[in-house]
């Protein structure tokens, strides 16, 4: 099907210092880091600031695309409103800021939630920028996630790419036919095409399934190549820390979490 080919493979990621780390170590390191951030009390703003600095450093190492992160930070906007609501509706004692009486604990907690969510978004962006989706799924396999879930995950990612290209095509068609780039027009067209989009996707998936069956087999996914990530990052004699053993890699991946613990304990 030409439409599914048109979606094309995901563009190759930039090869940064974090690309070679095993995905499972990165996922575990990310979760550990975010757990530490989550338990940091709102009464320790400097610890949160230090953790923010850590995550920014990691993001820089992971060669995160600044524009992508900026787009994702739009998800923070509701939290700004939430922080404002906390500050306005929170319990006393109140402080005067620019002539408005704000609840001090409410303000503190609201800003802490905002900061934690922002740290989370940047941290996940660092993982996503340094790890391809197949590598992440292979890492999840080594963490014991069952096969059916990984298959479902992988197929969903592919279907998502195809669906997105479908939607882009619908949007272009609407723009051409209505000579309008207004959001409401595009949204209305998207809403009207929801049902047909689903029918088309199932039909295409069935066609692909049938084609795979006819070519013989395709029971499940091709097994992800073990250590694919490691192979793509050959040992670099100039920078030996880039190719340490397994223990070293896991230690490297847990550095942000360790720094976060230090920040929480030292700056509380």
């Amino acid at each position: 099907m030409s439409s599914s080919h048109a979606a094309g493979p995901a563009p190759d990621r930039l090869h940064g210092p974090l690309t070679g780390l095993p995905a499972e170590a990165k996922v575990v390191g990310l979760v550990a880091f975010l757990v530490v951030v989550a338990v940091t009390p709102p009464s320790a703003p400097w610890a949160l600031a230090a953790q923010g600095a850590v995550v920014l450093a990691v993001a820089a190492l992971a060669l995160v695309d600044g524009r992508a992160v900026a787009g994702r930070l739009a998800l923070d906007l509701p939290l700004v409103v939430l922080a404002a609501a906390y500050a306005l509706a929170g319990r006393g004692p109140h402080v005067e800021v620019l002539g408005v009486a704000l609840s001090e604990p409410g303000l503190r907690v609201g800003l802490a939630v905002l900061a934690k969510a922002t740290i989370g978004i940047v941290a996940v962006s660092a993982l996503a920028a340094s790890t391809s989706v197949p590598d992440t799924i292979a890492g999840l396999a080594r963490l014991g996630v069952p096969g059916w879930f990984r298959t479902l995950l992988a197929l969903s990612v592919r279907q998502l790419q195809v669906l997105r290209s479908d939607i882009a095509r619908i949007r272009r068609a609407v723009e051409v036919r209505t000579a309008s780039t207004r959001r409401t027009v595009a949204l209305a067209a998207g809403a009207r095409s929801l049902g047909v989009l689903f029918i088309r996707s199932t039909e295409r998936a069935d066609t692909l399934r049938l084609a795979a069956d006819l070519r013989g087999g395709a029971e499940g996914m091709p097994a992800a190549e073990p250590g694919a990530a490691a192979k793509r990052a050959p040992a670099d004699p100039a920078a030996p820390w880039r190719s340490p053993g397994t223990v070293g890699r896991w230690a490297l991946a847990s550095v942000p979490a360790a720094l976060a613990v230090v920040a929480t304990v030292a700056l509380r």
Binding site: A85, A89, T136, F149
Partner: protein, 242 residues
Amino acid sequence: MHIPDGWVDLPTSVGAGVVAVGGVAVAARRARAALSARATSLPAVVAAYVLVAQLLVVPVGLGTSAHLVGAGLAALLVGPAVAVLCAAVVVVLQALVLADGGVTALGLNLINDGLVPALVTYGAFVLVRPRLGGRRAQALAGGACAGLGALAAAGAAALEFVVGGTDAVSPATVAASIGGAHVVVAALEAGLTALALATLLRLRPDLVRAVPRRRAPAAVAVVDERPAVVGADGPRGERRVS
């Protein structure tokens, strides 16, 4: 929107994670047939579809925006068990790849965007199903049930905040604001679900599992293992619609 990291305390997140994993395990057992290698493509399509439906963001005001939850529609399309699995895929992808929703809040988001709306929507629809006459009534009822599911999801989020949220703000205030914002979300959910269902019931009623087939089209009956017909250029001219 999804619950970010740090919105509720860690014990609540962990507890929600345990509940969510249990729910997914039960759903996986019940949906074993749908997960066989041959048929996995339909759940994957539904998961991708829900992800895309969630990108259809409508501004609500005050910088906040609402989007479809999608789990209710998924439950009506493929049944609650498979819908929960699709929601799990959606939540994991959003947390690990798209940076939407907290990694430590995975369990909470799976409950709010998966378990609760899927079960409530499907349960409500099964209750009202015997009274529904035509396709129009079925689509409207399905939309209403999905709206109910979205409201129930908001209720779950409010409950989670009461259990594990901060004590700097009174829980009643937060519950009220969550509920208020989600009235809009529920209305949107109901309208869009009804719209999608109406199209599907008209063109491919065999794809809507919640509605029992009165007379299965012959082609579908033959290749029952592969429920959707390849290239179904049906008598109603599906291909002409885009």
